[in-house]
Structures are given as C-alpha cells and as structure tokens.
C-alpha cells in the first residue's frame, strides 16, 4: 500500500471561478485568504471538458471519469416512471464517486451540495444533496425540504434550520454588492436585487451546512460545492467592467461591482472553512471551468441553443492545493478536472482505478510520489454508500423500456408536448454524449451517435456541423464535404432560418476541410470569408495560422496566431502555433517563450515540447533542449524525431552514451520506420518528383546506377534493389526515413512493418504511353499514335489494383499528384506535397526541379505559334 500523504482532505468547489477575475482582486488585497492559500501551496489552470456543463463536470471531478462512463449527461433527465423532466439525479450516476470509495475504505466522509447529489447517498458521514439550498416558497411560508435531501435522515431538522431564505436577507447583505440598491424599483422589471439575494442565500446556506458539520462532526474527507459564482456571473457578467456596448450606463453603474463582491464573499467563506479545517488538512480549491470576463463575453446567447449559457464558460478554471506534502508557492501545469479523484485517492494512499480517465497530479507534491493502481474500483466489493441497486437507474434506458411498453400497448404514450419535449431532451443528451466522445478522442464512438442525430434532425445545423467535423477528424473527407454541401443547400433555400445564421461556421469548417485536403490556399479564402462575419470565432485565426504555416508564409501565420491570442490569450494551441511561426523565422527566444506559455496552459502537448527542444537546441541550450525532447517522448513515445534528436544530443553535446544508446535502441526496437515512396507508372513524372523532394531537402535512397540520359536529363534517382523487391525485402531498412522510387506494380510487395507515405504520380495515359514508346525507340508508333490497346488496359488495371491496395493498408497514406498540375502550377503543388510530408521542405528548392521544357509528350499539345 502506498504512503498516505494527507491526514484530512477538504475539497472546495467554486463553480466557474476564473483567475482572470481573481488575480486583480488578489493584487489589491481583496481576496487575502485565497492569496495566502495560493502562496502556501500550488496553483494553476484546470482544463474543463466538453460540453462544459456543470452537472457533467462536477461528476467527472467526483469520479475521475468522463460522462460516457459516469452517465450524468446534461442538466435534466426524464423521470423513469412518469417521463416528466426532472433535474439529473445521483441515482443516474453509474460509477462510484470518490466519497463512495472512501466510505468503502472506512473513512469519515461528508459531501455538501455537490451537483448532482440528490437523493443524498448513504455514505459514511453526512450527505446534503443539491436540492438543499433553493428556496421553493415565498419567505414567511413553510419551506419544506425535499425527501432525500439529507443523509442521515435524523439530521433533517438540524439542516432545515440552517437554510437561509433570500427574503430573510437585509440591506446589510445586499448593499455591499449593490451600493445604490435604493435606486431599484422593487415593483419594476429589474430583478437584479432578487438575483443577488437568491445567490447570496444559496451559498450562505451551503456554508452554513458545511461549517456545522466541521464544527460538530469528525471527518477525514469533506467536499463542499458552491455554485454561486457561476450564477452571479451568468446574471451580472454583462455589467462587469469594462462596460460592454449596449449596456445602459445606469445599470452598469448599479451592478458593475456585483461579481467582485461575489468573489470577495467567497474569500470570506473560505477563511472560515480553512479555519475549521486546520493546518493539517490538505485543501483542494477548484472550479470546473472559467467564465469569459473580457471582450470574449458573448453579446447575445442564441435562443435556439438549449444550453446557450454554457457559451459564456471559458475552457480553464482554477486549481489550488495546499497542505502537508504539497509544494509551496509553485505553479502546476496540465491539470484537468478528471485529475482530482485520482489525486485524492493518492493523498489517502489508495490506488487509482485504471478505468479512470484522469491522472495523479504528482507535480503538486514536494516529494516523488508513485501512485498505485488497480484495474477498477467498480469491481471492489463492499458497502460504499451508493444507493441500493434497485434505486439506481439509467433514465434513458428506462425510457427505452417505457417506449417498448407503449408500443406493445401496455402503457399510454406521453401526450403532445411531453413527447416532443422528451424527444428534444433525448436528442440533446445524445449530442452531449457525442461531444464527450469527441473530446475524449473517441471519434469512432461519436460517429454513429451523430449520424443518427443528423438523420433524424437534418435541419439542426449544430448536429450537422458536429457530424461534418467528426468526419473531418476521421479523415472521411468526402462525407464531410457532402454534409457541408447539404448544409449550404439548406441555407440557400431558407435564408432567414436559424440554420442560415450558421453560414460563417460552415465556411470555417470548409476551410478546415480544405486544409486537411492539402489545399491551404483555397482554405484561406473560406476562412477569410468566415472572419468577416465572426471575427471572434474560436479557432478561426488558429486555422488561418495553420494554413499560412502550410504554405510557409511564416510572418502571416505569426500575425494570425497573434490575432487568435488577442481573442483568447489562454489558447495553448495558438501559443504553440505562434512558437512554430517564430521558430521557422529563426526568432528562437520568442519561440521558446511561446512554447513555455503553451505548455503552461496545456502540458500534454508533445509537439509543443518538441518545438521547445528544437528552439533550445538552436540557441545552444543543449541540456534544456534534451529535457524538452525527453518530455516529448514521455508524452508521445512514438515521436521518432524527438528520439533522434536525443540520440544526437546525448552522443555529441551532452556526452551521455548510455542515454544515447537507450534512445537509439528504442527507435530500433519500438518505432515503426517511415518510408516515403514516389510511385506511379514509368514515365508519369516520378523522376521529377524525386528531384523535387531531393531539392526540397529530403534524403533520397539511390545508388545512381541508372544514369541520366536524354529521356531524363536530370537523372532517375533509382535504387537497383527495388527491382527485386518481390524476391528480397531485407534491405528495406536502408530506406527508413528516406525517399525511395518504386513503380506501382511493385507496391504490393512492401512489407507491413513500416509506415509508408506515398506520393503517387498520375499522368494522362496517352502521354505515359507516348513517353514510354519514345524511350523504347518506337518513334514510328508515336508518330502514328498507334499504341497497343492491351498495354493501356493493362496499365489501367495495374493502377486500379495499386489504388485498391493503398486504400486497404492501414500503414499507408497517399497523396495523388497530377504531373500536368505540377508542371503548370508548381507552387501550389509543392505546397501540397510539403504539407503532406510534414511541412518542413524547402519549397524554393522543390520549384527549381520543375522544368516546363521537359513536358514534351503532351496528349493534346498546344499548337506552336
């Protein structure tokens, strides 16, 4: 059993808390408790998940698992019996939460207000559900508490008394938030003061219950969840300075300090919680996502979007840890909401379930911590304080069973509106599930969900766009295009429909698709069009930057990424893109800074570490360069180039032959080699392509046995052993990392042990035959255009066979290149090829290999003037 690192653990959840608001307040000394907590511990960003919906996120925080596993999907669900919609229940959670695991291990565990936690679970301690705080009756009337709000039941009366009704609050509570509250007409439409009172009463109720438990009960683990910051932000962020366009001056003046007040009040509550917890407690304070507080604040939330308020959520929340064995005054990187449960288990010396999606935040500890693992906590028998099996249910499975009973005629179908609402919520739930899959890179799982949604709701642009995006990621580019075209058709027919408002998003997606299709110039046209309508669309400028990178317009890509960062300065992808743009312009110090920022925001970006290593290498900081490459290979062990750099660094500069040998051996034994092939029929332009790649900077495997001649004055760049590939493949390792020419009929003999990137040359068949006949000295046949029909058919069959083989091989990627296109439009084709091969070729060099004069055997030669 691993060492226990914490005596007690207190988790405090502040929904939607964001460093962008906290930092200025801490700087002014207005959040002294949090400042102290931060200075005495570690802090950092915590990455949210998609969709950023709080019940799903807080369940992921509490379980360490994504929503497809834990089963909480969205805000509402149907009651399994009545089909009426209700808030999501704890009985719908399919897996153990950390408090269940700790209960199982005999720890005294209390949970207050977690979302969702109703009905309260029978854990080894007190559980107060998320139904606890909200006042359901006007002030002065009896205020009943929903059945199942408190566990154990005998404490119901105690906690009932600890609730605070908004109507109970006085001017002493409201004025610190809204000093000019007297100006608000209590009978008027402005409900701002009510919103302040409700949110304040809600969080004070949670505080009251949590502090009562801490004052009166023993505990090992305590989790307290406050949603008020999120609710204050949804109601008042539009009044947060700087003033947004369209906000009336008087309302801005009235409510501009509400958000700051909410944070300051949470700091006051934090002080009491920490006081009660004592110095020997490990405290984890976190939020599930951030909240846009700057120019990214949406001006309008789309009405047709059911979870539109989530558009105000930003992708990084806050994380702060403090206590014994935790580092002091340090920053941690790369944390995700999924990491909390694995980290808490490690704090208690318990193993982490391998079926959990998060990791242990080992960098938070002040000593080396090696977590223990078990396959799954779900398999561990014992009382864990979950609801009895008969109370647990999947609400949607219950609906499916109900549907069957309806179809069989045993139960009456829900009437009109209810049935429509049920279907709507079901579709939305499926949409969330697909987004969960996509966020977890489970695209194959997302695809059937999205296909079904699209089939049933072809007019819902959100579904169609997500499906197109999924097709794009799965490289089903044809299908992606079909969806995009259909969306465009629909838009053309109904110009005023909600769908038509999505046009810029369609342009954006088309741009992204064209980048995937290696058409960066055309992509830029669509991206620029999208930019006109939605200049603040997330990722737009990143994609523009990516397109410019592909065509090696480094300065333009730099500008695009800077624009992206002006929109979202916390975009790790944009910082990384900018780093690459700097790197290629030899601005190494800027590149290093940007890489470090990207890594700070999202540690798990192997390529950011790779490029950091590259930039550090260029300035001669070999030690740090090696460190960066080492992190890269730890995150992405298959990155061959990083291993190669490490071999070089440890062999030459750092004089560590053991480590050099380690990486060398790793490449040899564990990494599949990659061979670049130029293929096609003889005389289809393969030699020209070899020249282009050679002059572009790639290593060519050639023995130069076959010399240049009149037919190929720049040389053939062939390798004799290729001709015997069907008999002997043992030499193929020589081609690893290099370019090899191989005619199409020999492709089938390539062994599966390598990855192949094939540039397949295509040329008009008549031109191919003409050129071959000339090469064979059969000028007469050429003059008479008399080529054997069987030859043409035979070559066509070989090409079909090659194409079919290429499609069927998982280790083969291909770029088809038309010879005439290269000769007529060499720049665009060179860019496409460069992009296909990873974007680091010298395009000028490639262009120097294209000689229009050598395009001598055209099928329809242009008449000479």
């Amino acid at each position: 059993m691993a060492e226990r690192l914490a005596k007690k653990v207190l988790i405090i959840g502040w929904d939607a808390a964001d460093w962008n608001i906290i930092h200025p307040l801490m700087d002014k000394g207005q959040m002294p408790t949090l400042e102290k907590l931060v200075n005495g511990g570690v802090m950092g960003n915590i990455a949210t998940l998609d969709p950023p919906l709080s019940p799903m996120l807080w369940t992921s925080i509490g379980t360490g698992k994504t929503a497809d596993k834990h089963g909480i999907m969205g805000f509402i669900e149907p009651d399994p019996v009545t089909s009426d919609m209700r808030p999501v229940y704890s009985t719908s959670r399919k897996v153990k939460a950390v408090w269940n695991i700790l209960t199982q291990k005999g720890y005294k565990t209390h949970v207050v207000g977690w979302w969702p936690s109703h009905p309260a679970e029978p854990i080894n301690g007190i559980s107060i559900s998320n139904f606890y705080k909200r006042a359901t009756k006007p002030f002065g009337e009896p205020w009943p508490m929903a059945e199942g709000t408190v566990h154990p039941k005998e404490l119901e009366e105690t906690f009932k008394e600890l609730r605070i009704h908004p109507g109970e609050l006085t001017e002493a509570h409201i004025l610190p938030f809204v000093p000019d509250a007297a100006k608000v007409d209590p009978e008027g439409d402005d409900k701002g003061l009510q919103a302040v009172a409700i949110n304040l009463a809600d969080c004070s109720t949670i505080q009251s219950a949590a502090t009562w438990i801490m004052e009166n009960k023993d505990w090992d683990f305590m989790a307290v969840y406050f949603d008020a910051i999120d609710h204050f932000c949804h109601a008042f962020m539009k009044f947060y300075p700087p003033k947004m366009n369209g906000i009336p001056d008087d309302r801005f003046e009235l409510y501009k300090d509400v958000i700051k007040g909410a944070y300051r009040f949470h700091d006051m509550m934090l002080e009491r919680l920490l006081e009660l917890a004592g110095p020997d407690t490990t405290v984890i304070l976190l939020s599930d996502h951030g909240f846009y507080s700057n120019h990214l604040r949406p001006k309008v939330l789309p009405k047709e979007h059911p979870a539109a308020p989530a558009l105000e959520h930003s992708p990084y929340g806050i994380l702060c840890m403090n206590g014994p064995n935790i580092q002091k005054d340090e920053q941690i990187y790369g944390a995700s909401v999924l990491d909390i449960t694995p980290t808490v288990l490690t704090l208690f010396g318990l193993p982490v379930g391998r079926d959990m999606d998060g990791k242990v935040l080992v960098q938070a500890f002040d000593k080396k911590v090696v977590p223990d693992y078990i396959p799954s906590w779900e398999e561990v028998e014992g009382e864990c304080g979950m609801h009895p099996k008969e109370q647990q249910s999947d609400p949607w499975a219950a609906q499916a069973a109900m549907k069957q009973l309806i179809e069989l005629g045993y139960v009456e179908a829900p009437e009109g509106d209810k049935a429509t609402q049920l279907k709507k919520v079901q579709d939305e739930t499926q949409f969330y599930l697909a987004r969960v899959y996509m966020h977890a890179h489970k695209y194959a799982e997302a695809l059937p969900v999205l296909e079904k949604l699209y089939e049933e709701n072809p007019d819902v642009a959100r579904f169609a766009l997500k499906l197109a995006s999924c097709y794009h990621i799965l490289y089903k580019l044809d299908k992606c295009r079909v969806i995009i075209d259909k969306i465009r058709e629909g838009m053309a027919q109904e110009k005023d429909s909600p769908q038509a408002k999505q046009l810029p998003h369609v342009d954006f997606l088309e741009g992204v698709l064209l980048i995937a299709e290696n058409k960066p110039r055309r992509a830029l046209n669509f991206l620029k069009e999208a930019e006109k309508s939605v200049p603040h669309l997330p990722n737009l400028h990143i994609q523009v930057g990516n397109a410019y990178l592909k065509i090696q317009r480094w300065a333009d890509s730099e500008r695009a990424y800077i624009k992206a960062l002006a929109i979202d300065e916390d975009s790790a992808v944009a910082h990384h893109g900018l780093a690459l743009a700097y790197l290629r312009q030899e601005k190494y110090h800027d590149a290093i800074e940007e890489c470090l920022t990207a890594i700070g925001l999202a540690y798990n970006m192997p390529l950011a570490h790779y490029h950091l290593g590259e930039a550090l290498l260029k300035i001669g900081d070999f030690e740090r360069s090696a460190q960066a490459f080492q992190v890269c290979v730890s995150l992405s062990p298959g990155n061959k180039r990083a291993h190669q750099w490490l071999v070089r660094l440890f062999s030459n500069e750092l004089k560590n032959p053991e480590l050099a040998a380690h990486h060398s051996k790793f490449i040899e034994e564990r990494i599949k080699g990659t061979i670049t092939l130029v293929s096609g029929l003889p005389r289809s332009g393969t030699s020209m392509m070899m020249q282009m790649l050679k002059n572009g900077g790639l290593d060519i495997l050639t023995d130069e046995v076959r010399k240049e001649d009149n037919n190929n004055p720049k040389g053939y760049l062939e390798y004799e052993k290729v001709k015997r590939l069907h008999l002997d493949k043992s030499w193929l390792g020589e081609a690893d990392g290099k370019v090899l020419k191989i005619v199409a009929p020999l492709l089938f003999h390539l062994p599966g042990k390598y990855d192949y990137r094939i540039i397949f040359m295509q040329r008009d068949m008549e031109e191919v035959l003409r050129s071959q006949q000339i090469m064979l000295g059969k000028q007469k046949a050429v003059d008479q255009n008399a080529f054997p029909m069987t030859l043409s058919e035979g070559f066509k069959k070989q090409l079909e066979k090659a194409e079919s083989w290429i499609q069927s091989q998982p280790n083969v990627s291909v770029l088809y290149v038309n010879y005439a296109d290269v000769v007529n439009n060499p720049e665009e084709q060179a860019e496409n090829i460069n992009s296909f091969l990873g974007g680091e070729l010298n395009i000028e060099g490639m262009l120097s290999s294209v000689d229009k004069q050598l395009y001598r055997n055209k099928a329809n030669p242009t008449p000479q003037s």
């Binding site: 001017e171 004052e215 006081e275």
Partner: protein, 61 residues
C-alpha cells in the same frame, strides 16, 4: 482538545472578541462565518424583536 472559541462569532476571528459585531440586520461577515454566525444573527434578531414587542406592549398598555 476542541477549540470552543471557534463556535463563538464574537471571538472566532483571530480569537479577538468583537471581531464580528452581531446586529439585528446581520452582515456578510456573519453569513460567511456559517452556522454559528447565522445562529448568532437570528438570536440577536429575535432578542431585538422581543424587546421591541415588549416595549410596544409597555407603551400601549
């Protein structure tokens, strides 16, 4: 040993008596203090109301 002062709003902050003044209108400080602050506030409010009621009764009668 249990720190009894932590359950007393008038002594809880840094152990200084009077750190949170308990008034019938309440305060954010008392709310932030949680259960003990809430109880103290409600108690004070009840006392003041009872006092007022007594005064009114005295006045009227």
């Amino acid at each position: 040993m249990e720190d009894k002062n932590k359950n007393n709003p008038e002594q809880s902050k840094d152990g200084q008596k009077g750190a949170f003044e308990v008034t019938p209108l309440g305060s954010l400080g008392l709310l932030a203090l949680g259960a003990v602050g809430l109880k103290a506030w409600r108690q004070k409010r009840a006392e003041v109301m009872a006092q007022q009621q007594a005064n009114n009764e005295k006045k009227n009668g």
